[in-house]
């Protein structure tokens, strides 16, 4: 069964955190939620995780105990050991015969040798892996990960990605929020959020292909509102340009989508 949200709107006071968002999370698939600060990523993930946020629209979620969730803050108890974390999760989810699964997850996260170490003594990457292992222990049907790779070194990120891919291979629907667009390109589906609105949705290739206009590259900056730096060079978006290079990156597409949204909001569309 697919999990997700239909026409989801979340309002906090006078601020619209999400506006008519549709999300479809399929078993065995990975969905990346991408967007800048304040885009509504965490709010969407909380709603999908089943946390009570005031909303309109429909959520289709697994039964209680079939969702794994790692919050942006990490969700780790600094004064519990790794083993104690997994023990607590097994009790909270009322799991039986969970030890083999726990050992397997610890082995896959390279945490097997640190079972009696306090989480507060772990590195940032190890804590993130522990959070993911905790979320995976109950074999969730829906795995929700909020910025789980943020601030993690490249090696640990790879380890986390293996874990996420493994969860999808086991049949879980995986939703993760990320600020790293190279990571989002690994997902089957990308949902691009901007100030609570969906700017684009689909496979990374489809989202990139749908980008209006063309992006060119040069050594010098162009019009500030349509240029951005990548490495030592500058990228320029021409809304009326004709695309000659079909290999548009997801990063370009995401930036252009946000530029269009800002230009439209500013009353001066391209």
């Amino acid at each position: 069964m697919n999990w997700g949200a239909k026409d989801l709107t979340v309002v906090f006071g006078s601020k619209v955190a999400l506006s008519s968002v549709d999300v479809d999370c399929q078993p065995g698939e990975i969905l990346a939620v991408v967007g800048g600060d304040g885009a509504g990523k965490s709010t969407l993930l909380k709603a999908l995780a089943g946390i009570d946020v005031p909303h309109d629209g429909t959520l289709t979620l697994p039964d209680s105990g079939l969702t794994g969730y790692v919050p942006a803050e990490g969700g780790i108890y600094r004064d519990l050991t790794i083993d104690e974390h997994l023990d607590f999760v097994s009790t909270a989810y009322r799991l039986t015969d969970w030890q083999a699964r726990a050992s397997d997850l610890l082995a896959r996260t390279d945490l097997a040798d640190f079972g009696d170490r306090l989480a507060g003594k772990l590195s940032g990457g190890q804590r993130r892996k522990l959070g993911a292992a905790m979320a995976l222990l109950p074999r969730p049907e829906l795995l929700v990960l909020d910025e789980v790779t943020t601030g993690v070194d490249p090696v640990s990120r790879m380890g986390l990605w293996r874990l996420i891919a493994g969860a999808a291979a086991e049949g879980a629907a995986v939703v993760f929020a990320t600020s790293y667009l190279d990571e989002a390109e690994r997902a089957g589906t990308v949902l691009l959020l901007h100030e609570g609105h969906v700017l684009a949705s689909g496979s990374p290739t489809a989202v990139a292909a749908a980008m209006p206009g063309a992006v060119t590259e040069s050594d010098r900056p162009g019009a500030p509102v349509r240029s951005w730096r990548r490495g030592r060079r500058w990228r320029h978006w021409d809304p009326d340009g004709v695309r000659t290079d079909e290999r548009v990156s997801l990063e370009d597409a995401a930036i252009v989508a946000e530029l269009v949204a800002e230009l439209v909001a500013g009353g001066s569309p391209s």
Binding site: G50, I51, D52, L59, T60, L61, E73, A92, Y93, R94
Partner: protein, 338 residues
Amino acid sequence: MILKEFRQMRRDRRTVALMVGLPIMMLIIFGYAARFDVTEIETAVLGPGADAAVAQLDDAFTVVHQDNTGTAEDARTLLADSEAAVAIVTGADPKVYVDGTELFVAQSALRRAESLPTGVQGEILFNPELSTANVMVPSLIGLILLFIGTVITSLGVVREREQGTLEQLAVTPLRPVDVIVGKIAPYFAVALIDMIIITLAGILIFDVPFRGSLFLFAVFGFIYLFVVLGFGVLISTVSRSQGEAIQLAIMVLLPQIMLSGMIFPLKSMAAGVRWIGYFLPLTYFVQAMRGIFLKASSFGALLTPLIILTVMAVVVFGLAVWRFRRDVAPQTAEAVAS
């Protein structure tokens, strides 16, 4: 740098409230409440010469009970039930009984005893040596439980919110009531152990007498713990960080320490601030503990503080659970199709 600090300060309303509110609170407390000299001593005058004795009394003795047929036994009962702090028995064998559990009231009464008829024998009941430890140790139980319940509990819950683990709990099959009970039960247990340790230490080290009912002691401890844990949880539900929780806890602790009658007698406070004390749980817990430890007060004598503390427990703990439940509640069933 100065401008930056002012800007930050302006937006940190709780700190500003603490910086402005605390001095005002201290001014009120030390200006109107922090008085050891009691000018209103609740007095009972009994026996055949009661009318004449009342006419002779100093203004500080406020006659709350007058009975021309009353006896010495009645006088003891009135003091045991905290109906009066001083009881004057007239007749063939005139006597003045003073409640020793109200330390400063007793001292004040003794100082003003010259207004009493000459030759009257005085007797201090329940705490004849006017021992400070006898009065403070039972009160300290309330203060320590208040500290654990309010500060430690609120910090424990706020820490979970900061780590994101509170939201994570909402995703597990644990029901909100499981989370609330699981979160509070350890603090409840530790506070109970603390209560026993302080009591034993008071009895064994400071020779504080324990004359009352163990059952009543447990009942009051149990109910009072619900109130203070309720305060702790309530603070945690409106605090985003541990710093905020501590600020609020100070605002809750300070008035209780100063205005509950634990240190300064309620009767010595100006009426304008005394009423605050009647809204504080520590006020009633201190009354109950002093009554149980020193006076062997009966259930009937402690009924009023028991009822008030029970109402406070229901209101404060109920409000705390209601607010905390929102933090750990999953989506409502009607919003979710599974």
